[in-house]
């Protein structure tokens, strides 16, 4: 009777299944982390050390010069001002694009769910259909549209294009999120005399933080990493960071400075990474708790 089950069930520390699982995970982690490791160590070495080969070896002499050069004075085509110009251009493109696209899409999604108008389903279907069209197809028409609007070759053109292309997916996720909220909440707000914007700002937005965070992540990574729209629509002085990175890495003159290239690449990838790390804590659970019973 002594061994009768009692209290918490004992767990085996390492079953064979666990060991398998962990070894696969470790291998996968190494597989993905190795290139990053190589990038970091390479970016911290001087050129003479790199030429010796040994790409896995840690730097004998740590130097931050490649990072400084990548940021401040690497040559992109004719100009040698480093990535900082591109960084600020990317900021100027990303911030307004993210804000405008999310603002428009969330209002779209809200209206599609709660203020159904004649043909709202059709409108939504068209919007979804839009997300299946490869955007290269629209490139030329958009060039003409922005030219006619007189904004081609400016930051406005890129922001405009990013907002348009963000619309289908963002509207979809906002629509689905709002549709899942209890409908009676919306009705209660109407009885309480809140209008279209009152309900949006005071009732729905406070409950929508998680989905706003998702949208921000999607848009920041998408827009920051974009290359095509930047190079087509922005115009030479406004090239985003990705385009400048490309120009640094693919430069044809002189020697290839691997350490500078690695540093530049990591600098460019930094912003989306930071967004991932920071955003985790905004995913609050139970945002609608207490709204409805049971």
């Amino acid at each position: 009777m002594k061994n009768e089950p009692k209290g918490p069930r004992p767990r085996k520390a390492f079953s064979p299944g666990r060991i398998m699982l962990y070894s696969i995970l470790v291998v996968a982690a190494i597989y993905y982390a190795l290139p990053l490791y190589i990038m970091i160590v390479t970016s911290l070495k001087g050129m003479p050390e790199i030429r010796m080969g040994n790409i896995f070896a840690p730097p004998v002499e740590v130097t931050f010069a490649p990072w400084v050069k990548a940021w401040d004075s690497a040559c992109t085509g004719l100009y040698c001002e480093g990535l900082k110009v591109g960084f600020w251009n990317s900021v100027k493109i990303t911030v307004p694009s993210v804000i405008v696209s999310i603002a428009v899409a969330s209002v779209n999604g809200y209206a599609l769910v709660n203020w159904k108008f004649k043909g709202s389903e059709f409108f939504f279907a068209v919007l979804i259909f839009g997300s299946f069209i490869p955007y290269q197809v629209m490139l030329y028409p958009l060039v003409i549209i922005t030219r006619e609007l007189g904004i081609f070759g400016s930051l406005w053109a890129v922001i405009f294009v990013h907002t348009i292309f963000g619309m289908p997916l963002l509207t979809l996720i906002f629509r689905n999120y709002f549709a899942a909220l209890p409908e009676e909440l919306f009705k209660a707000a109407r009885v309480d005399g809140a209008g279209f914007w009152g309900i949006y700002w005071k009732v729905l937005v406070p409950m929508a933080t998680p989905i706003f965070v998702v949208a921000v992540i999607l848009q920041v990574t998408g827009i920051w990493n974009d290359f095509l729209f930047g190079i087509v629509f922005a115009g030479q002085p406004n090239f985003p960071m990705t385009v400048q990175l490309n120009n640094i890495v693919n430069t044809t003159q002189g020697i290839k400075e691997y350490n500078v290239n690695m540093a530049a690449t990591m600098l460019t990838a930094m912003v989306p990474l930071v967004i991932y790390f920071v955003s985790g804590r905004f995913f609050v659970r139970g945002i609608a708790a207490g709204a409805v019973k049971g």
Binding site: E184, K187, R190, D192, A194, M207, A289, G290, A291, V292
Partner: protein
């Protein structure tokens, strides 16, 4: 003047008609309960009155004003929803004041009204909490409070107590009744619960498939149901129905198989002659047994099939002339399956329904 008048209301969702030519007059200060099976259109009717659904046809008047095209906020209503629908990101105070702020009330006015309402509902010490930090009964009170602060002429309740446990339900039911006594507002209250309906209502409207079957005081609905649906719907356990023939050729009586039930004392609603196929309805609680049964105008011998002790009384299932029959006996009486019992009843408390129209005879 009527508080609410509904004229020829029709509501369709696409091709399905949920409410059909509905007419309803509710007096000032009346407590009207809407009762009906699931999906019969109770919430839909409430939403129409609140202005949350656009009517397909017909008119709605509140306090003599045609509000058919008006926004919910301009109708002078307060509504408590089936799920409480509290704003989860606002405190209780925020929930209560939201409507007032939207209406542009002054700060002092808001404070005063919240104080009144929260005192009445005993939620004063909860004002700073979020809905997630409240119990079911407290949320319910906040939901009622939100309707209350707005000083509405008409309150609409959509099954406000449906998800609460039995004890809390009884408590809140009494509170609601007291609230109505104090406020004297018009209230429309949707429920599935017969006891709630019987205890709260001035009048009950029984709905089925978008039609109001009967609109009367609880006593009338219970004692003189207009048709077989209403009779079967109200009362628990449900009314017994014996299928047979109503014979009015001589002294009126009802024939079930071999048995003849004399109908002296039964108040007829229709003048019928000859024989009519019909159902004879008698409530389980109107059936007497033992010595009393001997004295009753009609009695019969039955065999106990099954019995269900419920504490205060025991439900007995038996057959009369081969048809199912239920009645109640005192919980202290000893009984066993297969026992023979003499039961009886007074046909004056019965209800007879026409075999085809199912209307009361």
């Amino acid at each position: 003047m009527n508080s609410i008048e509904i004229r020829d209301l029709v509501l369709r969702f696409g091709k399905t008609t949920v409410l059909q030519d509905l007419d309803l007059d509710i007096e000032q200060g009346e407590f009207l309960v809407l009762l009906g099976s699931s999906g019969c259109g109770k919430s839909t009717l409430l939403n129409c009155i609140a202005g949350l659904l656009e009517v397909s046809e017909g008119q709605i008047f509140i306090n003599g004003r045609n509000v058919t095209w008006e926004e919910p906020k301009d109708r002078g209503i307060g509504m408590v929803f089936q799920s409480y629908a509290l704003y989860p990101q606002m405190t209780v105070k925020g929930n209560l004041s939201f409507g007032l702020k939207n209406a542009g009330a002054s700060k002092e006015e808001i404070e005063k009204r919240i104080k009144n309402a929260s005192q009445m509902l005993q939620i004063e010490n909860l004002l700073q909490r979020k809905p997630a930090e409240l119990s079911g009964g407290q949320r319910q009170r906040v939901a009622i409070g939100r309707a209350l602060v707005r000083d509405a002429d008409v309150f609409l309740f959509d099954e406000p107590l449906s998800n609460l446990d039995a004890k809390l339900r009884t408590e809140l039911r009494v509170e609601l009744k007291q609230l109505h006594k104090r406020l004297q507002n018009t209230m429309i209250y949707v429920t599935h619960d017969q006891i709630e309906a019987m205890t709260l209502a001035d009048r009950i409207a029984i709905m089925k498939n978008g039609f109001i079957q009967q609109l009367d005081s609880p006593a009338t609905i219970y004692n003189r149901p207009k048709n077989k649906f209403v009779a079967g719907f109200i009362g628990s356990p449900a009314m017994n129905f014996l299928e047979g023939t109503l014979d009015c050729t001589g002294e009126p009586h009802f024939v079930v198989g071999e048995a003849k039930i004399p109908l002296a004392g039964y108040e007829f609603s229709q003048n019928l002659e000859g024989k009519t196929q019909s159902s004879f309805g008698i409530r389980p609680e109107h059936i007497v047994y033992g010595e009393e049964a001997q004295k009753a105008p009609f009695n019969a011998k039955v065999t106990v099939d099954v019995f269900e002790p419920m504490g205060s009384d025991t439900q007995v299932w038996a057959h009369v002339e081969g048809q199912n029959f239920r009645f109640r006996i005192d919980g202290r009486d000893k009984i066993a399956n297969g026992d023979e019992m003499l039961i009886g009843f007074d046909p004056a408390c019965a209800s007879i329904f026409h075999g085809e129209t199912e209307e009361r005879i």
